[in-house]
Symmetry: D2
Subunit: 350 residues, 4 copies
């Protein structure tokens, strides 16, 4: 079985494991107060051109999302998000478990707009009984989104401006940040994220690390005492160095191209995904979302689906009609070219 069902099916980029191996018997302080975390944070701040940012490392994305949101919001505030937002539909109510409501807006291809945000906030404020409603306090978006699509610079700038004017925090879930940054459709840089967001993260788990998300806080209001919140929610890893070490391996280590692994691996995965997409489209398959990143969503005739499913693990995304099946096909930093070639050949042969 060749697995294309997700981007967290393998371990880590070999350079990551090598780094862990090499430093295994170093003795360091715990809880992220070691040199590796300090160096990784410094490197991330350089890449973001954000010398004053705070960087915190988390083991996973749900943990990062719930901790950031709980730390930022006042008790009566909620977080605006797309109705397909990961925090709203795929984290078992983790945000509500911290006391806050997800204020879902109808998304298009996983995205919401500055206009929707303004409307929601303005309607709330204009409502005579607004004290009986949850107050919007933050906007959460994912980029790439849960369905692989991308906000471009204009869209993110508009959302950022709306948040700034309205006094809301802007938080970008970057669990697949690398696949976004290296997509041919992308026009955003890490510096843009740092300039436009109050807090965002660079995902490691899906982008070459065993695990790990690097949260970057640029808004001074969100910085104080954040580590208390990290500890309170169980997110402070005893051997925090493991997180710093992995991000160093990904962001410091250059491959032949002169770029760091984090980017070169993601760029390759995006290319693989787009080749797969081209193959499906050439066969007349509809794409569910116009994704320029490593996640692709196709609608297949059932016979084709059943045939492919014999060899390839894909995520079943429901049946749009009686005779068709929707699937997600993911590539990742670990996807082998041979697997992609084989899949494409098999699609061509359908």
């Amino acid at each position: 079985m060749l697995r294309f069902e997700c981007d967290y099916g393998e371990g880590a980029a070999p350079a990551v494991l090598e780094f862990l191996q090499k430093t295994n018997f170093d003795q360091t302080p715990g809880y992220g107060e070691d040199e590796y975390c300090a160096k990784a944070a410094a490197q991330i701040k350089r890449l973001c051109d954000a010398p004053d940012a705070d960087v915190h490392f988390f083991v996973g994305a749900t943990q990062a999302n719930l901790t950031v949101i709980a730390a930022a919001l006042k008790p009566w505030q909620g977080v605006l998000c797309a109705d397909s937002g990961h925090i709203h539909v795929h984290e078992t109510g983790s945000i509500e478990a911290t006391g806050h409501k997800c204020l879902a807006l109808p998304g298009k291809n996983g995205k919401i707009t500055a206009r929707q945000i303004r409307k929601a906030v303005e309607e709330h404020r204009a409502n005579a009984s607004h004290e009986h409603e949850v107050q919007p306090g933050m906007v959460y978006i994912s980029n790439p989104t849960e369905v692989g699509t991308l906000y471009n610079k204009e869209e993110l700038t508009d959302i950022s401006a709306a948040c700034y004017e309205l006094g809301l925090y802007l938080f970008v879930d970057g669990a697949r940040m690398a696949y976004g940054l290296t997509s041919p459709a992308n026009d955003l840089s890490l510096q843009d994220y740092a300039a436009l967001c109050d807090v965002f993260y660079l995902g490691g788990t899906k982008c070459g690390a065993l695990f790990g998300e690097a949260v970057v806080i640029t808004n001074d209001d969100l910085k104080p005492d954040f580590r208390y919140c990290l500890k309170q929610h169980g997110g402070m890893l005893a051997k925090g160095r493991l997180l710093g070490e992995q991000f160093l391996a990904l962001l410091d280590g250059e491959d032949g191209s002169g770029s760091s692994l984090y980017f070169t691996m993601a760029k390759k995965a995006d290319k693989q995904a787009l080749r797969i997409r081209a193959a499906f489209e050439a066969k007349g398959c509809k794409v569910l979302h116009d994704s320029p990143t490593n996640q692709q969503f196709f609608v297949l005739p059932d016979e084709w689906y059943e045939k492919l499913a014999e060899t390839y693990a894909m995520t079943h995304m429901g049946k749009p009609d009686k005779h068709h099946t929707a699937v997600r096909v993911c590539t990742s930093w670990a996807t082998k070219d041979e697997a992609v070639e084989q899949l494409i050949a098999d699609v061509n042969g359908l």
Copy 2:
């Protein structure tokens, strides 16, 4: 600087890293639903002689504590614990953040008794206004305790009986389980824990893994839907296999003695700790707690403390009087014999 300040200063037992390396490109389902987790769970159930238990893997102990307690208690219930209990004093209010109160009882050497538990519950129930108080719903103890001491089989049996009669869950935090099981003072087995507790865990983070705690649930009432709670609190690791793999490396891999690494490494660390203790005691230093495990607590004249602190990292535990300093000295699976020899020689030479 030789570090004796904690038992999470290094990476992992080499066999753990080797296992991760060896399986790195295996493709597995995510979220702990892979073969490695299944095998590790099976091995733990064998060791516990608890075929019907559920085993869940967590990245860290705070996460495990808060998830187990939040899953088990009703909203109006609290958890009885020692006033030195980790959940009460060292986890930033993580239990309260899930809505539950820690009902602290005065501990002796980090331990509480069945008698104290009975008294607390009976007084609550006898109180005419008990509905105005938090209802005790669970007992939490750590074994070894936070100060290295051990509950013996009689004590744990008494506590278990009290909990059973009173209708409370018994939860044992086993972050340092290995160091307890292999202590010369220990008379408890994993089977005993499985028989006496409703839920407990075998710590990995401090006992040879990069990270990881294996929670064992024996009470059927606590089993259903536990994974929802795991996910909700951000404890469901995307690449859950990493946890299964590490516990397999620790619990399956035998060293020359025919025992698995988890136990042989801890046994050695306990011996090292007791040798260090003997050296300090021979010099007339008081121990703060009569610990038979890998954590030792000494009271030193300030000059001795300052001299040792030049070469050795120890945890500063306050000043019991003007001229003395209390310290914690830890060994671990990673502690080198040479470091122990050198420390003992330096203590002898004080």
Copy 3:
């Protein structure tokens, strides 16, 4: 200004105040453990033909909603409700503040169906990654709904059957229970509610009391320790007797018709509302919802709205188009016939 904007604009039915006056210097135990509460509970159980039910009195509906839901749900469960449900849109995230998500279903005229409930639960259970979603644990409906419409006996029976089969609790918010029970369109009795719901309440605040909601728990699983939860959320009134006394005044006191005040007052208000509706409809005004109870929703030409607004307070419900205004007009136990006559005359004269 004649106020038709809500049904909580006045104090209480005179009989309620008289009862408070008459018993003012009685000395009773606190916290609802007095004779008046016992008698009121007994009367409610008689009316519901539910001798084994537990009855608890709350000051207000938000308090009742959040306490019942928090007491009933497991931490990873949420509550299914209409997207217009009071708990979802008009209680400042009170349910989320207790850690639970409102799982909103698209309502029609404020109502959801058994079919929608089944579909939501079945889809959740069929989803391979259901542990990443909030588990439905309860259904919350309001009857009358927030827009005055009514579930009939067949609909409530279907919803009850779905909940029973699926293992969900059914909770009916009866803040306006009296206006529902006495509506000409109603075919439900209090006995039906007791037979079909796990927990529901008879609203007092909007139905003749100064304040108060009587929660009736029929499901044995929800009974134990409920008062702890009541206290924890601040819902246990020190002088709980005030609640018992008010419900006694409303439910014991008969008017000339041989029925208790609670019902005779609501019946009159419903009639007034329907007369007002007929007047608006006779003028060609659209109703927003086909309400047979004390809340009516009309769409008026702006000139008509402005003219009426000089004399009558109505709730502004937005502008469906450029030239029309939507309003809510409420009657209540306190609405005077002369006020209704005057309004009708003014509508006729538009």
Copy 4:
């Protein structure tokens, strides 16, 4: 049976009921946005000499405590209080249910000191692992305390100064404020409370109202959006006017002495309590706490207790030894002089 067991056994001062009666058919906006609440708030601000304060009315004290504390604290903060503090031992974990830990300090006669507060905060801040502990964010004291004792002006000033210097909020629970203000031992005025506290309240429930607590916020940081929090926790009474009306009746209405009812009633109750105390002391009974207010705590030989208990309801406070019983005896605004005379006569006759 003559009841001296608590100060919430009767209804309300007749003037309160008269006010409700008189205004019963007034039509007002809901949720505390009416003229009565506005007038009552203005009167309270006048009495406190705090024109810029915000005043919010709550139905009960547990509700007020949990809402104020949840609104003020950051998620990782806890509230310092006496180990006898009502929020810590008598509100079913209501503070923890909002996510915050009560950081209990050992009290003396129900009181804590500025010195204890400073020590707790300084130790926390000096602790290298303070991020693993709950951060103190507020000080909660009750005045009068739960055992009837009083903080004097010097003590409250010291605590206020400590809080100010340390950056903590000071919150005073004034459920029995009137009995404190009118005690012969008191040297604090409402103006002092307003000047020294960030937030405090004047209790109505135990001081002549049917129910109600008036929270006064003087610190600007705590003012914004407080009503959202009030609603979220179910504390926003639909007919909020009832609260304003009651406080107006208590604080505006003068009795013969030229002072308002709130004070004249409490003053009388304090006097009654001190006469009762003198009678018990004359018989050689020990007082448990040196209380100058309406709650008195005595230790009686069991025979005396049993004899008195035939006629008088007192709160049983445990048995200090085999032959003695501790009791609480309360007077209140409703206590009749004849009942006091009879009790004193019976004590004299023991």
